[in-house]
């Protein structure tokens, strides 16, 4: 197992700067959108923008795109488990308080 998986590809620094710029623009967007008071869709848009930002961080800063498939699959399983827990909880909450 010695030296296994040593990364050979070095990313470009301008990619990081571009990702950072996108993250700042998305932050400004989420603040601006919150001022519109979209009521019902406010949470959905906020979570959608936050997830886009997380996606950028995971893909580029944590360079998941260059990792082996097994790591991507593991992340998918972890997020799937979390989604399942949230959905199962809300399947109770939604029907209890109505």
């Amino acid at each position: 197992m010695n030296g296994k998986g040593f990364p050979l590809h070095i990313p470009k620094s301008r990619v990081y700067v571009f990702v950072w710029l996108s993250l700042v623009v998305l932050t400004a967007t989420t603040v601006a959108v919150a001022r519109l008071h979209l009521t019902r869709y406010a949470v959905l848009t906020a979570i959608f923008i936050a997830s886009t930002k997380s996606g950028l961080v995971v893909t580029f800063f944590m360079h998941l795109k260059e990792e082996p498939l097994i790591l991507k699959a593991m992340l998918f399983i972890a997020l799937f488990a979390l989604t399942l827990i949230v959905l199962l909880t809300f399947s109770d909450v939604w029907f209890r308080y109505q």
Binding site: M1, N2, G3, K4, G5, F6, P7, L8, I10, P11, S13, Y16, V17, V19, W20, L23, V24, T27, T30, V31, A34, A42, V43, A46, I47, I49, A50, K53, S54, V57, V58, F60, F61, M62, E67, P68, I70, L71, M74, L75, A78, L79, A81, L82, I85, V86, T89, F90, V93, W94, Y97
Partner: protein, 206 residues
Amino acid sequence: MSEPKEIAVRHRVDYTGAKMGMWIFLFTEVLFFGGLFLLYSVFRSKYTLAFHDSAKELDIFLGTANTVILLTSSMMMALSILFVRKGEKASSILCQGITIFLGLVFLCNKYIEWSAHIRHGIYPDSPLLLQMSRGKIIFFSLYYVMTGLHGLHVLIGVCVISGTLLFTARGKIYRDDFVKLENTGLYWHFVDIVWIYLFPLFYLIT
């Protein structure tokens, strides 16, 4: 100059294994914060109005500033790894230094925010808070627990990056062996992601 891969073989570094270990740790952290986010969602769906009212107490400007600060620190952390891999030790140390500095600025802002709430009499178990509605009590409890635990993660991150900075300076983290810095980076980016969700959910729901 020999190939980096050969040197890694000689140094017996298993990059895949080391990084996988770190990711598995981060998955436990995902579920740890995930549980708190779940609690937040359930109570927010029950006490929607109280949550919206309470969020007005929070300073959107400081929250936005802290978001930009953490995002910038994340980029600096990514750049520090890039510089180490190019063999530019001084630049890497500078970037790690900036990351630590930004982490400390984030914590200073947290201190300012929390002191303002405490001055207004809003802190866990305070007489003023206990007179408020149940929804508001729950909002501020979650606020203190979640931003507090996140702040603790930032503090731990700052300590660990101080360690990697020393390692880089002493040449223990270098072009052919940087997995310690790599894993510290993964942790720091994860802490950034937690804040990416905390910020809109607590500050932007007014």
